[in-house]
Amino acid sequence: MTNPSTAATAVETDEVLRVTDLRTTYQFRGLPVPAVKRFSLSVKPGEIVGLVGESGSGKSTALKSILGMLRPPAQVEAEEIILTGRDLRSLSEEEMRKVRGGEMAMIFQDPINSFNPSWTIGSQFRRVLSLHRPDLERKEYDEEILRLLKGVGIDGRGKLNSYPFQFSQGQLQRIMIAVACASKELKVLLADEPTTSLDVTIEAQVLELLRTLRVERNLSMVLVTHDLSVVAEMCDKVVVMYAGQVVEVADVFNLFESPQHPYTQQLLQAIPGFPHDGERLYAMRGAVPGLATEIQGCWFADRCDSKLGSICDTTPPPLYPVTATGGLAACHRVPDPAIAGGEGKNS
């Protein structure tokens, strides 16, 4: 599994995390169900990459695959998963365990459920420190915890012996972020819809916190979200997923200004305008095809408003480079500028 040559190239390129051709397959009633296919991702230091797509498009699965959290019967294959020069697939389970929460940590959608209800915040925090901070003495833990909590805007004095249910969701998500930041080696934070269960004011605070961390620690993030406004506010680069595949990669400005893939276009079109003039809201027709279905061509062809013709039904589109923006889009119209320009009337 070890491949020194790929490891070397990763050091040369300025990437903290690179995933190429990830494929995750679940088993359902004995049948393989590909939940993520042809997934690639590259994150530069200090960059926030947004990962958007509807429910079931494989965003969370992709993150868990990268972190090595999936257990058989789920199968994860990839050409490479390189984190700061090391291919994670070549690591032993014990080494991988140290990477989790060490160089790469994950925060989750539902902070209250992400803490063990039977233990105090302090004891759960101390455990993570004992895993990832060999530089600290046991008696220094509490001091460090208070320092880390202060970093996320929580005065932890006298609260370390409180239980998760005694905190609000927003506080818990901050504490979760503090736990994730416990390791000094942290390079990449995987955030799986970190603000979905929070109300908008708290959401704004948490997002602000993440932005601060990015600046202070040069932290890279992969931010999974349904919310395109969060993407617009937070991200440098966006990866759009549909039915387990990446359909478009673009920097955040280009994504909103000139979306290339019809799915992205229709997704943006579905954002209600304000002030709303009483028109019917745009809704994408159809539904995401089941992951177990066999589809020859483009997975989005059935719902596409700007389908080209038979090619969409027969040939799966690869990720074409978009010359104008420097992004990538998996649509047959992209390599032909004439056709690509022709869809302008659609949006």
């Binding site: 989750f108 459920n113 455990r127 005065d155 004095r157 239980y163």
Partner: protein, 333 residues
């Protein structure tokens, strides 16, 4: 653990904070015992359980006679001197009862302790690898044990174990401990199944994923994260299992396959009584029988009450739910 935790040292960094949280929680923690004593039925069961524990702990010190000493007056009824009469060879039944109670209760506790530890561990190990070989091997083994009738398996195991003098290093294992282990083995599957089912449910919780995502080890997940969250059903089952263990011990000892004479236990007391009941020696039967019946009753009651208290879904009392609803509101923010 104890850090700079002063009451006044809880500044509100956020207006949404509730500084009273900490004390509120402590009240909740001592609450289990208080809640148990506040209800009549559970108070009775607690008192009963306490009585039996006391009986086992200090009872023998109050025995007026040596329980094995033969006396001159066999089969006399209860009197001022022999509170529970004497048996066929003139031994004081009250003294034998006190010593026997300790043996019976101790055997029960040992058996349940054994079953609780071994069963929970096996069940958790199986549950963590559900569907794998480890799971199948453990759970099929449990099925094998369960497939034997309880009262058949215990004598068989004690019979096998008692054949030779076993010793654990310098400590030789007494027949009482053998009986306890035999009963424990039979009770193991019950705990294994409960532990496995609870682990299966808990493994789906987000916090397990979170612990893994922070690099938690398997044993961290098992003992620190899963164990506290699955302990409630295990504790409840332990109370029921105690009642069962004591009655099983009485049964096998009665059959002469458990605690061996001249050692006393509730079962052997009854066994001794068997031939003399028809001669009118009612006192030989009544006291150990009442003890067994009450023990089983109290521990079953306690199990029921514990289940009501520890399993929030089984909570039935309306007064209780109203109270917890109000406090939950206060905890929110």
């Amino acid at each position: 653990m104890a850090i700079t935790e002063t009451k006044d040292g809880i500044p509100a960094d956020n207006p949404a904070d509730n500084p009273a949280d900490n004390s509120a929680h402590r009240a909740d923690e001592v609450g289990l015992l208080r809640r148990l004593t506040s209800r009549k039925l559970s108070a009775i069961s607690l008192a009963g359980v306490g009585f039996f524990l006391l009986l086992a702990l200090v009872g023998p010190f109050f025995a007026p006679f040596d329980p094995a000493a033969l006396g001159d007056e066999p089969l006399t009824g209860p009197s001022a001197q022999n509170w529970m009469g004497t048996d066929s060879v003139g031994r004081d039944v009250f003294s034998r009862f006190l010593h026997g109670s300790r043996v019976s209760i101790l055997v029960g506790f040992l058996a349940v302790l054994f079953a609780l530890v071994v069963g929970s561990l096996l069940g958790m190990l199986a549950g963590m690898k559900s569907g794998k070989l480890r799971d199948s091997v453990i759970m099929r083994l449990m099925d094998v044990i369960l497939s034997f009738p309880l009262l058949v398996l215990v004598p068989v195991i004690t019979g096998i174990l008692a054949q030779r003098q076993l010793s654990l290093g310098p400590v030789s294992i007494t027949p009482e401990v053998l009986v306890a282990i035999a009963i424990g083995i039979v009770l193991v599957p019950v705990f294994a199944r409960i532990a496995r089912a609870s682990v299966l449910a808990e493994m789906r919780e987000d916090y397990v994923t979170a612990v893994r995502s922070f690099g938690g080890r398997g044993k961290d997940i098992l003992f620190r994260n899963l164990l506290p969250n699955i302990s409630a059903p295990l504790v409840v089952q332990a109370a029921f299992a105690l009642a069962m263990a004591v009655s099983v011990e009485a049964a096998v000892s009665f059959l002469g396959l458990g605690v061996q004479p001249p050692g006393a236990s509730w079962g052997t007391l009854l066994a001794d009584a068997r031939q003399y009941v028809t001669l009118g020696a009612w006192w030989l039967v009544v006291f150990p029988s009442i003890a067994i019946a009450l023990f089983v009753l109290f521990f079953n009651l306690l199990g029921d009450q514990l289940r009501d208290e520890l399993d929030p879904r089984a909570k039935s009392t309306t007064k209780k739910s109203k109270k917890s609803g109000a406090s939950a509101k206060g905890e929110q923010k």
